[in-house]
């Protein structure tokens, strides 16, 4: 699939301290975001995620390298017309209402008044803020500000959505709703690039993922590709009807433990699962469940 966003060998420096010492915040970062994908950009706080996002939205120019949106430099007006951006802390003009904010950013996106007026109810409904459309932003909660931020990024139906920490500071329900919103936006044909330092959020919804640490890209690719590097698949089998002494010498089990309903055994590798299940049935056991456990991105990044 063609890439909508290309980051090519990007380096970024800034000067800090009394002697204005040069500090490298991005070290030769290269990544490519396929069109219509959900791309998760992971990294701990201070890794350089927001700096790279600022380069993507054309707020800054890279010290070295290039950032291209649909093959055009990200700082060009054409490139910026193709994207919608949600900042990490969505501060907006507090005196505006939700509707007023959307009219403002709609105009800055090149939309005509009638286009804006017809889009507003749709985006407000998509982010669940229809009832609060006439409320001033200073009365919005953190979650509502996050949603109106996404709404303003969506108002001109951009091909690429760049969301900087869209789930930060939200409660679990709020996070779930934003995740669902991102998935539905991708379903409508938007490419969603979002940064986060919360791995499960990214793992739950992304097709592609990149991991940055101390300004260096540690890895980039599909989530499945990352997970396949996490070692053999493990399966947790729950059963009853056999005693522990009957199976304790079975080498196929990595571990066995008793629980209130029976026993639980952990098996590594797909081929051993069939073997164990056959043996258990032969011993007269009743299989309660067999759940494959795939390694999480969190486990991988911890390694």
């Amino acid at each position: 699939m063609a890439a909508i966003l290309d980051v090519i060998e990007v380096e970024q420096f800034f000067r800090a301290g009394f002697w204005l010492k040069q500090v490298k915040v991005l070290k030769g970062v290269s990544l490519s975001v396929p069109s219509r994908s959900i791309f998760g950009f992971l990294g701990p706080n201070g890794a350089g995620k927001t700096t790279l996002i600022h380069l993507m939205i054309g707020l800054k120019k890279p010290s070295r390298g290039r950032v291209l949106i649909s093959g055009v430099d990200s700082s060009s007006l054409f490139a910026r017309s193709k994207m919608g951006y949600l900042p990490e802390r969505p501060y907006f003009h507090e005196h505006l209402t939700g509707e007023g904010l959307l009219k403002y950013y709609g105009t800055l996106s090149g939309m005509k008044r009638l286009q804006i007026l017809s889009r507003i109810p749709k985006v407000l409904s998509a982010v669940g803020l229809t009832a609060a459309r006439r409320l001033e932003l200073k009365k919005y909660s953190k979650g509502m500000l996050q949603r109106i931020g996404i709404a303003q990024a969506l108002i001109h139906q951009p091909e690429l959505l760049i969301l900087d920490e869209p789930m930060s500071g939200l409660d679990p329900l709020g996070r779930k709703e934003i995740r669902e919103l991102i998935v539905s936006l991708a379903g409508e044909g938007h490419t969603v690039f979002f940064s986060s330092h919360v791995i499960p959020d990214v793992e739950a919804i992304c097709d592609q993922v990149a991991w940055i640490q101390k300004g260096e890209l540690m890895g980039c690719g599909s989530v499945e590709g990352f997970l396949s590097k996490g070692g053999p698949l493990r399966t947790e089998i729950e059963f009853t009807g056999v005693s522990r002494s009957q199976i304790s010498h079975w080498s196929e089990f990595t571990s066995i433990r008793e629980n209130p309903t029976g026993m639980q055994g952990l098996v590594e590798g797909q081929e051993r699962v069939n073997l164990i299940l056959t043996r258990l049935l032969q011993e007269g056991a009743q299989i309660l469940s067999a759940i494959p456990i795939r390694p999480s991105l969190e486990d991988l990044f911890k390694k």
């Binding site: 919608g84 800055l108 139906q157």
Partner: protein, 268 residues
């Protein structure tokens, strides 16, 4: 998905930013403080006029005119200096600049918003001033002259020039420094003929050359000050008025153009 990807027109961008800026400024308490203080000056003028037996109307006239001038100038300087700083502080500029607009358009939009506020303030002050003159001057309608209307109008032009200077400084310095620089430029600007006189009387030296260069470079606010014409009932020629307006427009254009260049290179 039907995408809407267009580059907005300059006018649409400036109008939108200008309107949001206008709404933002009218919520600023500084505006109302300045307005109240200026209205109080009318009252001080009235009291002072009652202590003057020779020409009480002239005192009311001068105090009122000064009040209109001070209020417009202070709002231009203090609000203009803080406009960009607020955008940076609250990071609202990030989202605006992620849209397909140039930084120069953003500056122009902020400037238009400020001009809108200055126009409203000037309109309110002028109406109050004229009502005040009408009700409290002894000669009623006789105090009104063409020069008075020009003088009040030129205070409006002056405030816009000051606003553009404040915005220029705010592109590369803090709010307080921008305000200080703007006030400094204004103080020199209203005394520029005195400085020119000093240059003419000084012996040739580097200091004189520098001072001479500065008097050419710095805006001359004497073009917008018609206090003497009003006080003594002197006429204002059309040539002077039109040249002063053109001069004001020139200074504004230069300041905004420079502000556009500076903001382009500013790290956000």
């Amino acid at each position: 998905m039907k995408t809407i990807q267009k580059i907005p027109s300059i006018w649409a961008v400036c109008r939108a930013i200008g309107w949001v800026t206008f709404l933002e400024i009218v919520r600023d308490k500084v505006l109302y403080n300045v307005l109240v203080c200026s209205l109080l000056l009318f009252g001080v003028g009235l009291l002072a006029s009652r202590l003057n037996f020779l020409s009480p109307d002239r005192v009311i006239l001068d105090f009122g005119l000064m009040s209109v001038g001070i209020s417009s100038s202070l709002i231009a300087v203090f609000v203009g200096s803080g406009l960009l700083a607020e955008e940076f502080k609250r990071r609202t500029i990030y989202v605006a600049l992620s849209h397909p607009i140039s930084r120069a358009q953003f500056i122009l939009g902020k400037f238009l918003g400020l001009v809108g506020v200055l126009a409203v303030n000037w309109g309110l002050m002028t109406i109050s001033y004229f009502l005040f003159l009408f009700f409290f001057s002894l000669e009623r309608l006789n105090v009104f002259s063409v020069s008075l209307f020009w003088a009040v109008f030129f205070y409006f032009i002056q405030s816009i020039v000051l606003g553009s200077i404040a915005i220029l400084f705010s592109t590369f310095s803090t709010t307080s420094l921008s305000a200080s620089f703007s006030i400094g430029i204004y103080l020199v600007g209203i005394n520029i003929s005195q400085v020119q006189l000093l240059v003419a009387r000084s012996p040739a030296s580097f200091g004189r050359s520098l001072l001479s260069f500065l008097t050419t470079l710095l805006p001359n606010f004497e073009h917008f000050n018609l206090g003497i014409q009003v006080t003594y009932g002197l006429p204002v020629s059309w040539q002077f008025a039109s040249l002063s307006i053109l001069y004001g427009l020139f200074v504004i254009t230069m300041c905004l153009a420079l502000a556009g260049v500076f903001i382009q290179n500013r790290e956000v």
